[in-house]
């Protein structure tokens, strides 16, 4: 029972970090109609940013997080300028290719800068495990869940309650109509990339403590975030967050019970099955063949 609770906590923490990645995915997809294939590598970059900042600045993990998020938002703007805006009038495949290229550059830049050895970032909450009878809860896992919750809710608040959020949603729904209404559409798209990269960076900084970070860590992440989004359905941010929690829980439990490989293989198989049977997502609206 105790093991199950601890596994569940770890699974939720992992899922919470995935949720940040998945939300970024949905933001960019809705704003541009194109998938950002570099999203996983942006997570990796966030992990390295946290690790490098920790080595340079004598600050606690929690204080480093805003710096990582800000840096990553700038990187997101750079990604949009390089990989999206020059190609916005071309087929979506061109943006897939350009973001794959960005991912390749990020991976190999990280390899050149930091080498192939795994790095670790400082914990956001460094203390002894919280004991509650036989139950020992990892403070880092709790902190990850808390921070991810704050960021996800902040994102939801931004989109639902602010003028900026309304402009972002209008741009995602109908770009031409939004432009006709005087919304600065390109700025909104750039902002979507910045937000997506910031969320990915936060996820990277949070994951890099427990799971380490390597230059190629992004590849598996993009699939897992995509699986979360596919489970949740493309239209919905809440669906993506729920999907991410499910993926994290599933992965943690199966990895503990069988093996990490089995967990990944089953997840990928599940992705294929969902795409075949319900491409609109398990809970989602009927998005069908939308690009």
């Amino acid at each position: 029972m105790v093991t199950i609770l601890q596994l569940a906590l770890n699974g939720l923490a992992l899922g919470a970090a995935y949720a940040l990645v998945a939300l970024g995915f949905v933001l960019v997809l809705n704003a541009t109609g194109a998938v950002n294939f570099a999203q996983g590598d942006l997570v990796m970059a966030g992990g390295y940013a946290a690790a490098a900042l920790a080595a340079a600045l004598p600050l606690p993990g929690l204080a480093l997080l805003p710096i990582v998020i800000g840096t990553m938002a700038l990187l997101g703007l750079a990604v949009s300028a390089l990989a999206y805006f020059p190609l916005m009038r071309r087929p979506a495949t061109a943006v897939f290719v350009s973001t794959i290229a960005i991912g390749l550059v990020l991976q190999n830049a990280a390899l050149g800068l930091f080498g192939p050895e795994p790095r670790t970032a400082p914990p956001v909450w460094d203390s002894e495990p919280l004991r509650w009878g036989a139950l020992a809860l990892s403070p880092q896992a709790l902190a990850v869940i808390a921070i991810a919750t704050v960021l996800v809710l902040g994102q939801a608040w931004l989109l639902a309650r602010t003028r900026l959020g309304r402009n972002l949603r209008a741009t995602a729904q109908d770009r031409e109509m939004a432009a006709a209404l005087g919304i600065p559409v390109n700025a909104m798209i750039a902002l979507s990339f910045a937000l997506a990269a910031a969320l990915a960076g936060a996820a990277g900084a949070l994951l890099a403590n427990q799971f380490f970070v390597t230059p190629t860590a992004g590849g598996a992440l993009i699939l897992k975030a995509y699986i979360a989004v596919v489970i949740g359905g493309w239209g919905s941010l809440a669906g993506a967050a729920v999907g991410a929690l499910l993926v994290g829980l599933f992965e943690t439990v199966v990895a503990a019970a069988v093996s990490y490989t089995a967990a990944s293989a089953l997840l990928y198989a599940a992705l294929l099955l969902i795409l075949l049977l319900r491409p609109q997502g398990l809970f989602g609206e009927a998005a069908g063949r939308r690009a």
């Binding site: 190609l87 897939f96 290719v97 290229a101 390749l104 550059v105 190999n108 050149g112 590849g219 795409l275």
Partner: protein
């Protein structure tokens, strides 16, 4: 991509492509035979394996326009089949090579059925998932695959009972197979089928309106890409002698993607150039050592932004621009088809979009040779009705028949070939194709001469292509636009675009043609010409369903008129009667005045 560029590529650039390819292969042969060291020859053989991989990838990524991320997995599968059968069971090349091609082909065929239904990123990520599963399987099935360490001792190539030694013979054998692959690729893509792929990837609506079997074309492209990848993997296994899980890693896939984009994604010379360049770049630039992928990534980004047609495309454009377009053939009337004239009957068609009932139990009958006008206020469901009849939007309920053929549930291209041709409010003409190419494509499509087998037999090229072009020219004459045959569709003004849409529709030997506001943007004289053309077509027994707001044009042209309002038929009859119908006047007055 400029209009001039693709026009050149489509009409005579591929002849240039064959020339470039032959020149390139000859230069490689001269280099290999004279100056290359044993090490150089090994690198050359490896470049050949990559060239074959890229040639295959061009089918699905370049021609079909779908981002598959499974090409690396097919490559790895081919390599492992060769390694397991050759190194473990000592099977010979004559058995392992065909099996290394068949295994990925079979896998592709199995996964294609569900995967190819997926569009855009769904397809990309599903193929990525497939590749990840393959990698996990290979790493974890260590008893068979040697796990992460891989398999050593892959035997060499044996051709006609003779072992092919390393060095020049091996490089020659690999490049011989590359040349064979290049020939097959040229065969499949240089005819009208190649044009069909260009329309398929750039303009799905135009592809449907031209009757192209999109799923079948994608399917054969995916299978071809898998088969080439398997052959490339097998050859690499023979060349290196070792196969490990590295062959399945994502870096193989992105290197292939970079080679394809940088070389040029639809030209054969591009596949060879891309593979050679990216294989030799780290050899030439030693400082790139360990950072080759960083350079590939940067180059990939630069090329997709600055020169998406690739190096071969840039070269092709630079030289093809100076060549004269080939002379047009003499027009030849299309052979008289068995009469397609049949009555179109729609009963109780309904279509709902969310909470809006766009079509509410619509009944419609169109007799052969009849011009039926379809009018109604904006948003009354006219275009939805046209889309439902032409299969672009599935009906929720009701019956549709053309003669005795049931139409419900057929794809748009099948309906187009069954005899219901379509023109669009915004003409669906692929901008880079010339008028003649488009209409010849429709002729070939109607004749069923597009696809892998037809192109392999050469029925869509050479004499076959000339025949379709001659028939297309005859049709262009019928709609009065032969003088514009070589003009790219993207440069046509509205006054000419309707003629091209009409010519394409006629090219499909239709029983019925549906036109959506053909008179929009036309001057009075052009409207009169359009009316005369429609009457001439109807005179041959072809029915016309014309959606129109322009009453001065429609009333004298149409035999009968049907009025839609809020998805329902509210009146039908002779034009003069319909415009006096009180319910029609009320429907228009409710929103706008009757446009008369």
């Amino acid at each position: 991509m400029t209009v001039a560029d693709t026009r050149a590529s489509a009409r005579h650039g591929l002849g240039d492509d064959a020339l470039w390819t032959v020149l390139l292969l000859a230069a490689l042969a001269a280099y290999a035979g004279t100056r290359a060291s044993p090490y150089d020859l090994r690198v050359l053989a490896l470049a050949g394996c990559q060239a074959l991989l890229v040639l295959g990838y061009q089918f699905i990524f370049g021609h079909a326009g779908a981002l598959s991320l499974a090409q690396g997995a097919f490559f790895g599968l081919g390599a492992y089949v060769t390694a397991i059968l050759g190194a473990r069971y000592h099977w010979g090349f004559a058995a392992t090579f065909p099996l290394s091609i068949l295994a990925p082909l079979a896998l592709a065929a199995v996964v294609a059925v569900p995967l190819l239904r997926l569009a855009s990123h769904y397809f990309a990520l599903a193929t990525l998932g497939l590749a990840q599963v393959a990698l996990l399987l290979v790493v974890n099935a260590g008893d068979w695959t040697g796990g992460a360490l891989g398999l050593t001792g892959v035997p060499g190539i044996v051709i006609l009972g003779e072992a092919v030694p390393r060095g020049l013979p091996l490089a020659a054998a690999v490049w011989g197979i590359v040349a064979l692959g290049a020939w097959l690729s040229w065969r499949v893509t240089h005819g009208i089928t190649g044009t069909a792929y260009a329309v398929l990837r750039t303009d799905p609506l135009a592809a449907a309106a031209t009757g192209l079997a999109q799923t079948r074309l994608r399917f054969s492209a995916f299978l071809l890409s898998a088969a080439y990848a398997g052959a490339a993997g097998a050859l690499q296994a023979h060349t290196v002698g070792v196969v490990s899980s590295e062959t399945l890693e994502f870096s193989v896939m992105v290197t292939c993607l970079a080679m394809t984009v940088i070389g040029g994604s639809t030209r054969i010379a591009g596949a060879l150039l891309g593979a050679l360049l990216l294989t030799y770049l780290p050899e030439w630039l030693r400082f790139l050592e360990g950072h080759a992928l960083l350079a590939y990534g940067a180059a990939l980004l630069a090329m997709i932004i600055l020169a998406p047609e690739g190096i071969a495309g840039v070269l092709g454009r630079a030289f093809a621009g100076r060549r004269r377009a080939p002379d047009l053939p003499e027009p030849v009337p299309a052979p008289p088809q068995e009469s397609r004239s049949a009555t179109l009957e729609a009963r109780s068609l309904s279509k709902r979009f969310g909470g809006v009932l766009a079509l509410d139990r619509v009944d419609l009958v169109i007799e052969p040779g009849e011009i039926l006008g379809l009018i109604g206020p904006n948003g009354s469901g006219k275009t939805t009705l046209a889309n439902v009849i032409s299969g672009l939007v599935p009906a929720d309920d009701g019956v549709m028949r053309l003669g005795s053929t049931g139409l419900r549930g057929l794809s748009a291209e099948k309906i187009a070939l069954a005899g219901i041709a379509r023109g669009f409010q915004t003409p669906a003409l692929p901008p880079s194709l010339s008028v003649l190419e488009l209409v010849a494509l429709a002729r070939a499509s109607a004749a069923g001469k597009i696809g892998f087998l037809s192109s392999l037999l050469g029925r869509d090229a050479g004499k076959g292509r000339r025949r379709f072009e001659a028939e297309a020219l005859d049709l262009l004459g019928r709609v009065g636009i032969s003088s514009e045959a070589d003009r790219p569709c993207g440069t046509l003004p509205a006054a000419l675009a309707w003629r091209v849409e009409l010519a394409r529709a006629l090219a499909l030997d239709p029983g019925i043609i549906i036109l959506d506001e053909p008179a929009a943007g036309l001057g009075e004289r052009e409207q009169a010409e359009l009316g005369a053309a429609l009457r001439e077509i109807a005179g041959h027994g072809i029915a016309l369903l014309v959606i129109e707001h322009n009453m001065p044009f429609l009333l004298p042209t149409a035999h009968r008129i049907v009025v839609l309002d809020q998805g329902r038929v509210i009146a039908k009859g002779r034009p003069a009667e319909v415009v006096r119908d009180p319910s029609v006047i009320a429907a228009y007055l409710g929103r706008e005045s009757l446009p008369a």
